[in-house]
């Protein structure tokens, strides 16, 4: 199987002719830091969900390398379209982790300004955002901007018709977009083998653009392959499909019970390929990082977790008037009428403390 790898599970650096990568100790430590902080943040979110602070959480555990590697390949002027699990990518874009928690807490449906970090809102419906990404890329071309778009999806998502249409529009428009599939082997309880009989990256051939499979637990390979694809896109050479072969170590979301459908042995097997572990081994073996670095990082992670914990707990419940406020940009008679009725209704009970 053609799997691009630059760092083995044992932490050894290997070369790939198509994807040369020069990454110095600082950059390597930076990538490790990204992955560790993301993992810590993610774990905190799981805890917060258990404590009832969040309604749900979709953990990225195991996918840190795929997300940090690809996310770090972007430039500030690039634009990213995530699904709902791209917490690591958000991190690389500078999105405040607290922003990601709002929708899982139930105080908003996202609600950050996508243009602030060129990181679009999470989208729950599977399929649509890939077409948004392509449309955005078509816009970039029309503006003569030399930027690119990075669009995430999953192995399950690969079955949606919208994904194929996105490939079509991207191909015929030679749009500067990179499709990044995190094949984490599972779509809730459905194994990737129920979605496709061939490696997903091979889909690209049929549309006439390159497809490549990369070790999704190898942050360096993910970085190099995505960087190369983004450069291709920016240079006007059109789309690329990247399949990052990785694994969802946790449940689909906190509500899920993965033991109903997959064996512990499979999970254990993937634990050996842990994306953080291999980079840590490498850093230590090469003398690129010492125990002080890891200790400081652990402390930074705890600080992050604390900030997130406190931040979430302090998140106010939304103002009910928000129900009406952003349905339309401009005045809409039915919304106005319902808003007024609602306000009058609320006012009725204002003194009473009764029906509300």
């Amino acid at each position: 199987m053609d799997l691009v790898q630059l760092l083995t599970p044992e932490g050894e650096r290997v070369d790939h002719p198509d994807y040369p990568l020069r990454a110095g100790p600082r950059e390597l430590r930076g990538l490790y830091r990204d992955m560790l902080l993301t993992r810590r943040f993610d774990a905190e979110a799981v805890t917060l969900q258990r404590q009832g602070e969040l309604g749900l959480w979709a953990s990225l555990l195991g996918q840190e390398a795929a997300q940090i590697g690809s996310g770090r390949a972007t430039r500030p002027d690039d634009y990213v379209f995530p699904c709902y699990r791209e917490h690591g990518v958000a991190w690389t874009r500078g999105v405040d982790p607290l922003n990601l928690l709002g929708m899982y807490r139930g105080v908003n449906h996202g609600g950050w300004d996508p243009d602030e970090n060129n990181f679009h809102l999470y989208t729950i419906v599977i399929g649509p955002p890939l077409l948004h990404a392509v449309g955005y890329a078509m816009g970039l071309t029309r503006e003569g901007a030399g930027s690119a778009v990075l669009s995430y999806f999953g192995d399950g998502a690969s079955s949606q018709g919208d994904v194929a249409e996105a490939f079509t529009f991207a191909a015929v428009n030679q749009a500067p977009v990179v499709f990044f599939c995190q094949n984490n082997q599972w779509a809730i309880s459905t194994p990737a083998s129920h979605q496709t009989r061939t490696p997903i990256f091979r889909r690209a051939e049929g549309w006439g653009f390159p497809g490549v499979r990369v070790d999704g637990n190898d942050v360096l390979a993910c970085l190099a392959v995505t960087r190369s694809a983004l450069e291709r896109a920016r240079a006007g050479q059109g789309p690329t499909l990247i399949e990052a072969f990785t694994y969802r170590m946790g449940p689909h979301a906190t509500s899920d019970e993965p033991r109903r459908y997959r064996a512990d042995a499979e999970v254990a097997q993937w634990e050996a390929k842990d994306p953080l572990l291999r980079l840590k081994t490498h850093l230590l073996a090469q003398g690129h990082a010492d125990s002080a670095f890891f200790a400081e990082l652990a402390e930074e992670a705890e600080q992050l977790a604390r900030r997130v914990r406190d931040g979430v707990r302090a998140m106010p419940d939304p103002d009910p008037d928000q129900l009406f406020r952003h349905v339309y940009v401009d005045e809409h008679a039915q919304v106005r009428e319902e808003q007024q009725t609602y306000q009058a209704y609320q006012a009725m009970f204002a003194g009473e403390g009764g029906r509300g």
Binding site: G156, F324, G356
Partner: protein, 342 residues
């Protein structure tokens, strides 16, 4: 007019013991199990319905019992799920497909509206598509976006579909059996926040045909019409109103297409007041059709306009606002007050 029972097909209840206590989800599971058992042409297809037993466990244990060929874990593609179900029905199968959540039925909308609903008419009656599209719907479970919607009006407006929604365990069992037995496509809306509500299920006989409304509580002064998740709410409202000396009748519509307007008319002509309650946005929703029909049929009987209580003309909000968005006890009682104010 004499209501006619839909062609009963393959509903041959076996001999069974006295009423059992089941959750609504459990009753649906039992209905699927019995349908799969009795008719080898019945199939279940959907995302995660097999090994996992569905995200709500409504299909729990069915794949183990009937095999992966009859309880099919489908690829993640709703148009494909419904489209292949149509093909299976053309080959003589009776597929029951599951859409994982209300908000994910829209990728299948083209197949449902342009194909599933129209093929019987297109073929001048030569083709039948006995497909059931099960959709857990409605809010109140604290979920994220697209997991709490009420899309019934889209399907009501689509000729060729039947649309039904049970409100309790017994109806859940029998209405699903009847939906599977029906030779028309049925959009079967399951009130997900009532999945865990328990009730007696008499497995020996169906309480009523699929298309009939049910008087859930007798009353004299005003009619509350609801379906699915809102029936329990209306019963609670009737209970509360009784304490204030008002006698509210509660209708459980059960079927939305066809709509049992006869039963609504019969009730309103007695009570002379009607409030319709549903979770879906009021604007061009099911309540609009009921109001339009009732003001026409009961023009001289109504003491007050038909009032509607439902969702706002806004996307379903984040869960911390859903209590404000959904019709609650107080909003229903307020509408009752308003009706009596006339």
């Amino acid at each position: 007019m004499m209501p006619v029972t839909p062609t009963a097909h393959a509903v041959r209840p076996q001999e069974r013991p006295a009423p059992e206590k089941m959750s609504l989800a459990g009753a649906l599971n039992a209905a699927l199990r019995d349908a799969l058992d009795e008719d080898p042409k019945v199939l279940v297809q959907g995302e995660d319905v097999g090994r996992l037993g569905g995200v709500f466990r409504v299909t729990d244990g069915l794949q183990e019992r009937f095999g992966a060929d009859r309880v099919v874990d489908a690829p993640l593609a709703e148009s494909g799920i419904v489209g292949t179900a149509i093909g299976l029905a053309l080959k003589g199968f009776r597929p029951v497909v599951e859409i994982q959540f209300d908000g994910f039925v829209f990728p299948a909308f083209n197949q449902i509206v342009t194909q599933l609903a129209k093929m019987h008419a297109r073929s001048l009656g030569k083709v039948r598509l006995p497909v059931v599209v099960r959709i857990p719907y409605g809010g109140g479970i604290g979920a994220i976006e697209h997991h709490s919607e009420s899309p019934e009006a889209y399907f009501m407006h689509t000729a060729g579909l039947r649309v039904a929604s049970p409100s309790n365990a017994e109806d859940a069992y029998w209405m699903l059996r009847q939906a599977i037995a029906a030779d028309d496509p049925v959009v079967f809306l399951e009130p997900k926040r009532r999945y865990w509500d328990k009730g007696e299920v008499d497995l020996s006989a169906a309480p009523a045909p699929l298309h009939k409304a049910r008087v859930a509580r007798r009353g004299a002064d005003l009619t509350l019409a609801a379906y699915g998740p809102s029936v329990r709410l209306c019963l609670e409202a009737a209970e509360a109103a009784a304490a204030e000396g008002r006698s509210l009748e509660v209708l459980d519509l059960r079927s939305l297409s066809p709509l049992d307007a006869d039963t609504v008319e019969w009730s309103v002509k007695r009570t002379r007041r009607l409030v319709v309650v549903h979770e879906a946005p009021v604007f061009t929703g099911a309540g609009a059709e009921i109001a339009a029909r009732v003001q026409e049929r009961c023009f001289y009987h109504l003491e007050a306009p038909v009032l509607r209580v439902g969702g706002f003309h806004a996307p379903y909000p984040p869960s911390r606002l859903e209590a404000e968005y959904l019709p609650g006890l107080d909003r229903v009682l307020h509408a009752v007050d308003q009706s009596f104010a006339h």
